[in-house]
């Protein structure tokens, strides 16, 4: 067993990523990315800027999409719905974390 050391790249909203890199990293085809954008599950930084660029955290969303499509055998509409609901959950969890951080007593549910 050998230990090796590597550096890392952040996948966050501050980083930009081309459509080409996004498809290569997520394993989701360009056509499917277009489909998910049309269905409102994914948004490029600027719709009018062609080719589209995305925020790097979209890789995480698309990798999730790819896993869900394959593992749960979802079609594009079901996938878009699942991603939209998951994003809502993520944003509610973030709001909850924010409220918990602001509250001087621990809020338990």
């Amino acid at each position: 067993m050998q230990a090796e050391t590597y550096d890392v790249v952040w996948l966050d909203r501050a980083q930009r990523m081309s459509l080409e890199d996004l498809t290569a990293l997520s394993g989701v085809s360009e056509i499917e990315v277009h489909e998910l954008v049309e269905l409102g599950a994914l948004a490029p930084i600027n719709y009018n800027e062609v080719p589209w660029a995305f925020r790097a955290d979209c890789v995480v969303t698309l990798r999730k999409a790819s896993r869900l499509r394959e593992d749960l055998e979802l079609d594009a509409h079901a996938l878009a719905l699942a991603l939209t609901l998951m994003e809502q959950i993520r944003s509610l969890e973030a709001e909850l974390a924010q409220l918990r951080a602001h509250a001087s007593v621990v809020v338990r549910f």
């Binding site: 067993m1 050998q2 590597y6 550096d7 890392v8 966050d12 990293l25 990798r63 055998e73 602001h102």
Partner: protein, 327 residues
């Protein structure tokens, strides 16, 4: 190799129809899929369920699996040479052994060799890994190194896959926050026959801290003040991740008031050394919490009484307003 009972993993009879297998799989996948499930064991359970389904959904693989016979789960067994000859071209040379191979790898290789070796030399991309790393707030603040233990598939010269333990030391730079993702290019498993190397995706989780609560890059700390400190104002020492600082509390500070210490939160990704990227960090909010001494001395009682008599302050004046309006 260890036997896994794919039928009992899915909770079905060995005679189950293809439709039943599909239905049960979909139900269990929705329940345990790591992207959907909150069950800490979900990922491991889903892996087993997916492995069972990958084999049982395929008529040929299911037939081959059934011909392995019925064993106890976890029981060591070796497929017969005849089995290798009949079902898996990879093992029909009479020399290859099943040693060091697990059941899922056996059926994965089965898929590749099925169809007359068509894929024997075609590129096989390396696996991506998704790993969660739990780190302390102090480590997120300074940057840290974590040691990840991975089970990595490796291919031998015959294209056979085995799993090997590998330890990867990953340097997490400053800028880690809850749920932040990192990508380590090419640090998944190695591609085979010219296939691309997989990547390693790291999901950061912050361990709860005894003093600070975290919201993105902002930190929150309770700042207990004695009633007289809140009333008269005070200079108090507040711990921050970079060391204690003195904070001036204004007179007549109220309970729950947030006092902001700019850029004393977590550094954001890409922040350079201190001072060079002012603003590239969250803030620290000290939340005022006025607390009473656990016991009040006689002298304190006298002073409080004196204050009660001298003060005209009515903390419940709003109650009266509402009562007046209602009346």
């Amino acid at each position: 190799m260890k036997y896994k009972d794919y039928y009992s993993i899915l909770g079905i009879e060995r005679t189950a129809s293809d439709d039943d297998i599909k239905k049960v799989y979909r139900k269990l996948a929705r329940k345990y899929h790591p992207d959907v499930s909150k069950d800490p064991e979900g990922e491991a359970k889903f892996k087993d369920v997916a492995e069972a389904y990958q084999t049982l959904k395929d008529t040929d693989k299911r037939a081959a699996y059934d011909r392995l016979g019925k064993h106890q789960s976890g029981e060591d067994f070796v497929p017969s040479r005849d089995w290798g000859k009949e079902f898996n071209t990879q093992f029909n040379d009479g020399q290859s052994s099943f040693e060091g191979i697990d059941l899922s790898d056996l059926f994965a290789s089965f898929a590749r060799h099925d169809g007359g070796q068509r894929n024997a030399n075609s590129p096989i991309p390396g696996e991506d890994f998704d790993v969660t790393a739990e780190i302390n707030l102090e480590d997120a603040f300074r940057g840290t190194q974590v040691s990840l233990s991975l089970s990595v598939p490796v291919h031998d010269q015959h294209g056979r896959m085995r799993r090997e333990a590998r330890t990867v030391e990953v340097r997490i730079p400053k800028g880690a926050a809850e749920g932040q993702r990192l990508r380590l290019r090419g640090q998944g498993s190695k591609g085979h026959n010219g296939g691309r190397d997989g990547d390693l995706y790291l999901n950061i989780k912050l361990r709860p801290h005894r003093l600070y609560r975290v919201d993105g890059f902002d930190l929150y700390i309770d700042l207990p003040l004695a009633p007289w400190e809140a009333a008269l104002g005070a200079t108090v020492e507040v711990p921050t991740l970079a060391g204690a600082v003195n904070l001036k509390v204004a007179p007549a500070t109220t309970n729950g008031q947030p006092l902001r210490l700019a850029r004393r939160g977590l550094p954001k990704p890409g922040s350079t050394e201190e001072g060079k990227s002012a603003g590239q960090a969250g803030d620290l909010f000290a939340m005022v919490k006025i607390v009473m001494p656990p016991t009040i001395s006689e002298r304190e009682k006298v002073l409080f009484k004196e204050m009660a008599e001298a003060s005209t302050f009515n903390p419940r004046s709003k109650f009266n307003e509402e009562a007046a309006n209602a009346g």
